[in-house]
């Protein structure tokens, strides 16, 4: 193993190893047999994970100022002043991401070996999965926007391929298409954003773009760029209104859902916004939009998750909701919290998905929770790990989710105001409710299934356990100072976000009092230390304090923490009451009848699908057909046909004048002579 800084020259191997694995599985996988395929598939990711750990070790040893390593592989697209080299950037943010991505991927690969053991297309599956990891790592390691875009599109493609993996199912094919197209719609804006950045900055390089964006562009341009990028993120991270593809994406094999549609790919949007945070910071309005979208998403999808019956879809909506949390965090100026939540959510949600995969696998691909029940006794290991995941998700104190969610709630309260805070707290309690609804319905109660149960094998249990461990401990990298922790994650990430942590300017004016700003800066504490403080930021911070909260920092944070913990537990308790305690009274049914409108809105996912079908899909098809029939055929073709047809019919008529009779010929000649002579 290469020691010291030289190891960074091997950075390209982190994504490259999975690529080699993918190529192997693609080209030779068919002949190689499942064992070789799984060794190559998992091994390549494992190697990559190991390498990133090594890199992490060296990286962590570097002084903070040096924690930004660039590696230019070669010039990619060069045309005039447009230059996009293929370069990689390793900074704390990407370091965290590659470690997480390769780690979770590795676990899920291992899990997949068991899960997909009986599938005919084993090699193809691992080809896609490896390819996905390659693109995902490229995405997070990218040193400029275009390289990021490679990964961005690549993961979308792999997502498409994996959603449509069981191609014989119509729904899988449809879901794949939908996922690709919807995210592509977002990508369109992202691409525009990239081009706009190039035109403004003359470069796509992260380091040069983010060095001092405020000097190059004004607020309105920053808003444009930020919003364009954000739409891309919305598409990829399934935020309202582009979230509809993600529930459908559950057609993919469950490990894929865990990896792509929960832990990694969908968080790329969060990563992107975090990456471009310097630009977002320039535009308060865009942050506001981010926050509102995130909040709405979190709330709407949580409501849908409340009533869904498909286990994977519940988890999918929950994923959307959690992503909403992350965006909210970004919007309220807590990118560190967002990334933190990203990590903890990755562990918890991967765990939940893998657990649900085990359940589904066990029950022969049954996904309706109403047809489960009492599983606790049959697959205990799954049950336990699943419960840990659920607890972590719900934000029960002590587990991973708690800390990250708490950081978000706090930032929301401080920067977003009480209204947003209230809404997000309600959402948090809904999280508890619907996660535990699964547990109580599926694992408790009576057995409502009669199939031969496939208990999960070792390859599946092991990742579950490991992930459960992570879900428990993951939170401790970011224990807030209030609880005596050191919030190492925020600290680690701080070079990226500069003067990060709670300092948005949501809902408040940008004009601030310098005094207040300074005060805020002081209060922010160590986290912000060492980072240059721009005037604008100071002004933003000043806004926070204009709300006039006089409560002391610590007690406020503690109080909020308490409230959120209570709400989470309350949600769990409500679920317990509904599905276990109330027994035969069937509270949920009665409630659903009582609030029929709300219920149907929830079950139909707020009618987004229907709306899109009516507004986009149908008109598009109709318009296409209309153009074909009305323009291409009716106008253009008919003109051509008309010209040709009239020529040909003239070709029919003209020789008809050739009567074959001599007198007629002579008559025409004389007529011609008359005309000529008269003319002359």
């Amino acid at each position: 193993m290469v020691e010291g800084r030289e190891i960074f020259n091997l950075l390209w191997l982190v994504p490259a190893i999975p690529l080699f694995g993918a190529l192997f599985n693609c080209l030779l996988g068919y002949r190689a047999g499942n064992l070789v395929v799984s060794i190559v598939g998992c091994g390549s990711i494992g190697l990559s994970f190991l390498l990133s750990l090594c890199i992490f070790r060296v990286f962590y040893g570097l002084p903070v100022e040096d924690r930004q390593i660039e590696l230019c592989l070669f010039q990619w697209i060069v045309s005039g002043d447009f230059q996009a080299p293929l370069d990689l950037l390793l900074d704390p943010l990407s370091m965290v991401m590659i470690t997480m991505v390769s780690g979770v991927s590795f676990l899920i690969h291992v899990y997949s070996v068991g899960y997909m053991a009986n599938d005919k297309c084993f090699a193809r599956y691992f080809f896609y999965l490896n390819l996905f990891v390659f693109f995902m790592l490229t995405l997070v390691l990218a040193g400029n926007f275009l390289v990021l875009y490679i990964g961005w599109e690549g993961v979308g493609l792999c997502s498409y391929l994996l959603i449509s993996f069981w191609y014989e199912r119509r729904s899988a094919a449809a879901a794949g298409l939908k996922a690709f197209v919807v995210t592509r719609f977002g990508d369109f804006f992202f691409a525009l954003g990239i081009i706009l950045i190039f035109l403004q900055f003359g470069s796509l390089h992260f380091c040069s773009v983010f060095a001092n964006p405020g000097e190059v562009i004004g607020v309105s341009m920053a808003t444009w760029i930020a919003l364009l990028i954000f739409v891309g993120a919305v598409g990829k991270s399934a935020q309202v209104p582009l979230h509809t593809w993600l529930p459908d994406a559950m057609e993919a094999p469950t490990p894929v859902s865990a990896l792509i549609h929960a832990a990694t790919m969908v968080t790329a949007g969060v990563y992107l916004v975090a990456r471009c945070y310097p630009i977002f910071e320039l535009s308060p309005f865009s942050l506001q939009v981010v926050a509102i979208v995130g909040l709405l998403t979190a709330f709407i999808s949580a409501t849908v998750a409340l009533v869904h019956t498909d286990i994977k879809k519940i988890l999918a909506f929950s994923t959307i909701s959690q992503l909403g949390h992350m965006f909210l965090a970004l919007g309220v100026g807590a990118p560190g919290a967002a990334i933190f939540h990203l990590l903890t959510h990755a562990f918890a949600k991967a765990l939940l998905f893998l657990g649900s995969g085990a359940v589904i696998h066990a029950l022969n691909d049954e996904m309706d929770i109403r047809k489960m029940g009492g599983l606790r006794r049959y697959i205990p290991a799954t049950f336990f790990t699943f419960t840990i995941g659920a607890l972590a998700m719900s934000g029960v104190p002590g587990l991973a989710g708690f800390f990250s969610k708490d950081a978000i709630l706090y930032a929301t309260f401080v920067n977003g105001g009480p209204l947003m805070w209230a809404l997000i707290v309600i959402t948090a309690s809904m999280t508890g409710f619907y996660t535990f609804r699964i547990i109580f319905v599926a694992f408790f109660g009576v057995k409502r299934w009669d199939v031969h149960l496939h208990a999960p094998g070792k390859a599946m249990i092991l990742p579950l356990v490991l992930l459960a461990l992570l879900a428990i401990t993951g939170g401790y990298m970011g224990v807030p100072h209030v609880l005596g922790g050191s919030d190492r994650i925020s600290e680690f990430l701080s070079p990226v976000f500069g003067n990060a942590e709670v300092h948005g300017s949501l809902g408040s004016s940008v004009e601030g009092v310098a005094l207040a700003a300074e005060e805020g800066g002081v209060v922010e504490g160590e986290a912000a230390e060492g980072a240059p403080q721009g005037t604008e930021t100071a002004e933003g911070i000043a806004g926070v304090w204009e709300t006039g909260i006089q409560m002391s920092e610590k007690s406020l944070e503690m109080l909020l923490m308490l409230v959120s913990a209570v709400m989470a537990l309350g949600g769990i308790g409500l679920a317990f009451y509904f599905y276990v305690y109330s027994g035969g009274r069937d509270v949920p049914t009665r409630l659903s009848e009582k609030f029929r409108v709300a219920y149907s809105i929830f079950t139909n996912g707020w009618y987004f699908d229907a709306l899109y079908k009516a507004v986009f899909v149908d008109p598009y098809m109709k318009l296409s057909t209309f153009f074909l029939k009305a323009v291409d055929v009716a106008v253009i073709d008919n003109i051509v046909r008309g010209v040709a047809g009239s020529l040909l019919s003239a070709g029919n008529i003209l020789p008809g004048l050739q009567l074959g009779v001599v007198r007629w010929y002579a008559t025409v000649m004389v007529l011609g002579a008359i005309i000529i002579i008269l003319y002359i």
Partner: protein
């Protein structure tokens, strides 16, 4: 005197020509044609072309018409179907076109004022013609003989026995 002679010749020629066109039976047409050709010969004579008048009578009215007469008599075709001018569409159009043409043509050709030139005494005599014909127009003369050869070859080739 000259006027009277001219108008008589004019009348004879035109009437007989009309008769060629309008006669129902081919034989009558041929006979009318003889009259026309003689009328033309008369006109030639009036125009100081005595040699041509003679040739016209001998060659045209003699040889050509005889050829036609032979043809008419040899080929026993049924005339009944085409004896009368049938007022079919083509005929009507043809007649109209021809009449328009005639009106236009006659009026156009005749307009402009001309005067006869004074001419030498031997104008149009055989000798004068011959001297021009055999000097200036030697090549056309030879060509005319070739033309006659063509006529012979054609007749033999087409109408002759195998």
């Amino acid at each position: 005197m000259e006027q009277i002679l001219f108008y008589i010749a004019f009348t004879i020629t035109v009437v007989s020509a009309a008769s060629v066109v309008l006669q129902g039976r081919v034989m009558y047409s041929v006979l009318s044609l003889i009259v026309t050709l003689l009328g033309v010969a008369w006109i030639y004579a009036m125009l100081s072309a005595p040699f041509l008048a003679i040739v016209q009578v001998i060659l045209y009215a003699g040889a050509i018409v005889v050829l036609l007469l032979f043809a008419v008599m040899m080929l026993k075709f049924d005339e009944t179907v085409q004896r009368r001018l049938r007022p079919d569409l083509l005929g009507v159009i043809g007649a109209l076109v021809a009449l328009v043409f005639a009106g236009m043509f006659v009026s156009l050709v005749s307009c402009g004022c001309f005067e006869f030139a004074s001419i030498p005494a031997d104008y149009g005599s055989i000798k004068s013609i011959g001297s021009v014909l055999y000097t200036q127009y030697l090549i056309p003369l030879e060509l005319a003989s070739v033309l006659l050869l063509v006529a012979v070859v054609g007749a033999v080739m087409l109408a002759g026995r195998r």
